[in-house]
Symmetry: C2
DNA sequence: CTTAGTGCAAAGCTTTTGCAATCCC
DNA sequence: GGGATTGCAAAAGCTTTGCACTAAG
């Protein structure tokens, strides 16, 4: 996670202006573990930035991804989610309540090199998604059986 | 891959009717390695089934996934892609031309159990996506450097 | 002061839905 | 024959775009 000053410097070094809206989007994204989509971020920001628009959130997220401050996730929903932790790490989605959690980094370098050999691709990135039932939903289901 | 007769039997056993449209969608999906999305399938089918509609392709793909004849992929595009090979296996997408290929099955059971322990989730499925440059695009790029 | 960025509304995509006509069983 | 399915058109989400206004540097 970077400070506002660091984000400002990074944006400018890449030729982007450091606007309050951009800093706010990064701030919100870097302080949540919910892996929000654009709309979730927008709804969280509007109360504090009444003029914030959804279009600006989308444009900002594109830029954050471009400068390496965020990554885009595709967990099998209609919308993209975002993560301010840019190091490659797996994610897990609860098929019952929809929450998305980080999975602590696993060593997948063996998979990656196996995949390169098997396909001939020059592989530069990967995403691993797990699907299952989160502890909270598992507990709820257990309760309902009684 | 299943024969038309087998697909017919399976659909009926799950309470679905075996219509020509459904058999055609499965037929097309099971004979390609392109991992098509709904629109690609539709465009391939229309010449042979002039009354085929995109809505029917979407509805059929839902049913094929539900009865275990197909799986949905999320390779980071706007649309979903589909694969008639339902065994869990990784996919790789070329960031240059957009093609999506299968990666021969890798042993990822270790990852899965590590993820269960780390997250507390009861994990029932996973998807692994690699991103890189396919051999054809790599060759093209090399050529352009001369 | 100059150019990039914001925010609104409209458009563009993919996917879903409502419904009359049709077809499977 | 009866109920599921088709296919059309319209609607519903998510995301992008055009453009006048504003603000960053």
């Amino acid at each position: 996670m970077m400070t506002g000053a660091e984000v400002t410097t990074l944006l400018r070094s890449k030729g982007f202006k450091a606007t309050p809206q951009r800093l706010a989007v990064y701030e919100a994204l870097s302080h949540t573990t919910a892996h929000p989509n654009a709309d979730m971020l927008y709804r969280e920001l509007v109360p504090h930035y009444p003029t914030m628009s959804l279009a600006t959130v989308y444009k900002t997220l594109d830029i954050l991804c471009e400068v390496g401050l965020a990554q885009e996730l595709n967990v099998g929903e209609e919308s993209f989610r975002y993560d301010a932790t840019v190091e490659s790490h797996p994610h897990v989605r609860c098929v019952s309540c929809g929450r998305v959690d980080d999975v602590p980094v696993l060593n997948d370098t063996a998979l990656l090199s196996q995949a390169e050999i098997a396909t001939g691709y020059d592989i530069t990135g990967r995403q691993i998604y797990f699907y299952g039932v989160c502890p909270a939903c598992a507990a709820k289901r257990k309760k309902q059986l009684h």
